[in-house]
């Protein structure tokens, strides 16, 4: 929506002046309401301008990827806007519901159904050959990217939640082996606490951090279960259920002073680097950061161990490049340009997964591409920060969580309730009951 504001000249009448100011004010007001969505960038002279929204992570690499894309595609201009992970979902809802220009976005598998149902994102099948890539994707990623029969993007990365420990710190406080189950972890943490380590376990947890819920579910999976059954009925209010037991376990570690919480990923990384915690559960790529000698004071001390539950299972998850409905509404040229950009970022238009491989090499991000597992460069790079054999064993036990279009909304309640239970404000039983009631209410509402 282009508008020009003309500066009145001395000979202009008062009526004209006031009219002009009124029009300008109206224009400002309309602009503030987001009328019109994306700006006028629609394929004039064959040039397409895309607005790409990402969460804040390694933005220098993102900018490099985008710059390389624009150099290879001179008629496409891509501007990048990033937001912190904790607020990303909420900011995206705000942007997309108010038609703030957004063409391509980072998305989370947990939000796919919600965003697709809300009409925020569009299928990509018309703009890139999804089936070609699906054949080389890890099965849960390929299946997860399809909603109601339509593919909604290509993977940015795929990873899992991992249990990480620092054997150097553990040994200093009297523990010389990794825990094999959750009870043993409690015993070990008690031993370490008695020898002066104030909080041996660190949980990355806050009611606004979506990773917290993933990690809780991952650890519940290691006890042998999920939070919903096949019919999306909540199963976690049953005291014998794995999720209930794990909530009790986490709450008890906080209550007994064996664990403390850190609200965000970067904070948890810093905390682990103080040497005041020996165990944590985080997204696996954080292990690459923890063992990075350039950024981590305790690099080399951190190790991946199998989830210490009876099944040793964990949560596998994926993030993906998504096409906004707004981009499609802006016309074929923009939608096609956005599709090409998504393919360059998440696919292999020239036969190589350049960007996915770069993320794996530079940052240790997992990938949803089967063929990259055999890439010698990737194997060598991963070997520098993780025991690859343990990684493969843990990956083989990764599973996805069950999702519906309302599970993102439910997750908000679940995190709030877990937060209250960990702080001792409510019992775990009450927290699980409130969360289960919310799940049933949402299931009925969105049926």
């Amino acid at each position: 929506m282009a508008r020009s504001l003309q500066i009145p000249n001395p000979g202009m009448s008062r009526r004209t002046l006031l009219g002009g100011l009124g029009a300008a004010a109206g224009g400002i007001a309309l602009s503030s309401c987001g009328v019109g969505g994306g700006s006028e960038k629609n394929g004039e002279n064959g040039v397409v301008t895309l607005d790409f929204v990402a969460w804040t992570y390694a933005m220098e690499t993102v900018q490099k990827n985008v710059a390389e894309y624009m150099a290879a595609h001179p008629k496409t201009k891509v501007s990048v806007q990033d937001y912190g992970w904790d607020q990303y979902h909420d900011t995206l809802v705000q942007r997309l519901s108010s038609n703030s220009a957004t063409d391509v976005l980072y998305n989370n598998g947990s939000w796919l159904a919600e965003f697709a149902s809300a009409g925020f994102i569009a299928p990509v099948g018309d703009y890139l050959d999804f089936d070609k890539y699906a054949k080389d994707m890890v099965p849960y990623v390929a299946e997860g990217l399809v909603y109601e029969g339509q593919p909604y993007g290509l993977p940015y990365y795929a990873d899992m939640a991992s249990f990480i420990w620092n054997p150097t710190v553990a040994k200093k406080y009297g523990v010389d082996r990794a825990p094999s189950d959750w009870d043993e972890l409690t015993d070990m943490a008690s031993t370490m606490k008695s020898k002066g380590l104030s909080a041996p376990i660190l949980w990355e947890f806050s009611q606004t951090n979506p990773s917290s819920l993933d990690e809780f579910i991952a650890m519940s999976m290691s006890r042998g279960g999920e939070v919903f059954d096949d019919e999306m009925n909540p199963v976690f209010e049953d005291p014998s259920s794995p999720a209930f037991q794990h909530a009790e376990f986490m709450a008890s570690t906080v209550r007994d002073g064996l664990a403390t919480t850190s609200p965000a990923e970067m904070d948890a990384m810093r905390a682990m680097n103080t040497g005041q915690h020996a165990f944590t559960c985080m997204y696996n790529y954080n292990l690459a950061g923890l063992n990075n000698k350039g950024t981590s004071p305790l690099a080399g001390q951190f190790e991946l161990i199998m989830m210490p539950g009876p099944t040793q299972a964990t949560l596998g998850y994926y993030r993906f490049y998504s096409l906004s409905s707004m981009a499609v509404d802006r016309g074929a040229a923009v939608a096609k340009g956005a599709g090409n950009f998504i393919e360059a970022m998440g696919g292999a238009p020239n036969g190589e997964y350049t960007i996915a491989k770069r993320w794996a090499l530079d940052r240790g991000l997992g990938f949803g591409i089967v063929s990259l597992f055999d890439d010698p460069d990737v194997q060598k790079a991963f070997g520098q920060w993780v025991d690859v054999s343990t990684l493969r064993d843990q990956q083989s036990l990764a599973q996805v969580k069950r999702e519906a279009k309302w599970t993102g909304i439910w997750g908000n309640t679940m995190l709030q309730q877990l937060s209250k239970a960990f702080a001792g404000e409510v019992s775990v039983a009450d927290a699980m009951k409130v969360s289960a009631d919310k799940a049933r209410e949402l299931k009925e509402k969105f049926a």
């Binding site: 100011l21 007001a29 979902h89 809802v93 609200p263 960990f422």
Partner: protein, 282 residues
């Protein structure tokens, strides 16, 4: 006619959004559900929702604590800046510095101060031999609440100080001179000369800080994300959460209207409670 540009701006940027919010508060408004009129349903759903009362209690306590702390600190800072001492030209910009720091940045900065295992405060206390084991400032409910009150007060201090400093600088010197000649004590001078002259500024500060406390969001959520538990969960978080996490714009609008109503009642109540001449020149 001359007022029309201003009226259009006010209408476009204030009245229309308020009207829109009120209208939305009576609708089922979600991108996941069909729109429909629900009457007072959003208001009753929000009021009966889990944590609503608790969030308001936390919010009002938070606002009250920041009013007391900020106003006290601003009175002290303004008195200090109104005096003359070596280095005041350096102290003045330092006191004003928090004004230049955006709320989110301030929140992150204070998180770095209070963080449990790597925060600056624990490092300093430990270095000074005051503590053997680090204090869990942000993961202990009462301490986390205290931390966010301090951070909020710190960010509001500059403007509050300026308001009161302006009041100080309008006090006629002759009044102090007369008090001195009459043998008035420090307390008598403050009570009968200083405070009456800065009273209007103090009232404005109380109003300003109270309203900022009721609508606070950025600093608190950058520091604690509303936790631990619901210790720092404010009503503003409810609005944000219902709107953008639960995609329920109707209920969020209802909550926003309620929050605006409480703010309005507070302002009117405070103004009514004042002496008639409190906001006018005597």
């Amino acid at each position: 006619m001359l007022l029309s540009p201003a009226l259009i701006v006010v209408l476009g940027l204030t009245l229309i959004p308020i009207a829109r919010a009120i209208w939305t508060s009576f609708q089922q408004d979600s991108p996941l559900l069909p729109s429909k009129f629900v009457g007072w349903g959003n208001y009753s759903d929000v009021a009966s929702s889990n944590g609503f009362v608790g969030a308001w209690l936390v919010t009002l306590t938070f606002a009250a604590c920041t009013v007391v702390l900020t106003t006290t600190m601003a009175l002290g800072a303004a008195a200090l800046l109104n005096s003359s001492f070596p280095g005041i030209s350096v102290v003045k910009p330092i006191v004003m510095l928090p004004w230049a720091v955006p709320g989110v940045i301030a929140g992150v900065m204070w998180r770095w101060v209070f963080s449990d295992s790597w925060g600056a405060l624990n490092a300093a206390l430990s270095g000074a031999g005051v503590i053997d084991e680090y204090v869990k400032w942000l993961s202990t409910p009462n301490l986390a609440f205290m931390a966010v009150v301090i951070a909020q007060s710190w960010s509001l201090l500059p403007l509050a100080t300026i308001f009161i400093l302006v009041g100080y600088q309008y006090i006629p010197f002759e009044q102090y001179e007369a008090a001195r000649l009459d043998g008035a004590s420090f307390w008598q001078t403050y009570r009968f000369i200083t405070f009456p002259n800065i009273r209007t500024a103090v009232i404005i500060v109380v109003l300003y800080v109270a309203l900022m406390g009721i609508t606070a969001y950025d600093i608190v959520y950058s520091m604690t994300s509303g936790g631990p538990g619901s210790a720092t969960t404010l009503a503003s978080y409810f609005t944000w959460s219902i709107s953008f996490r639960e995609l329920n714009f109707g209920q969020a609008a209802a909550l926003a209207v309620m929050m605006a109503g409480v703010s309005l009642i507070l302002v009117i109540g405070l103004l009514k409670a004042l002496p008639k001449d409190a906001l006018t020149d005597e």
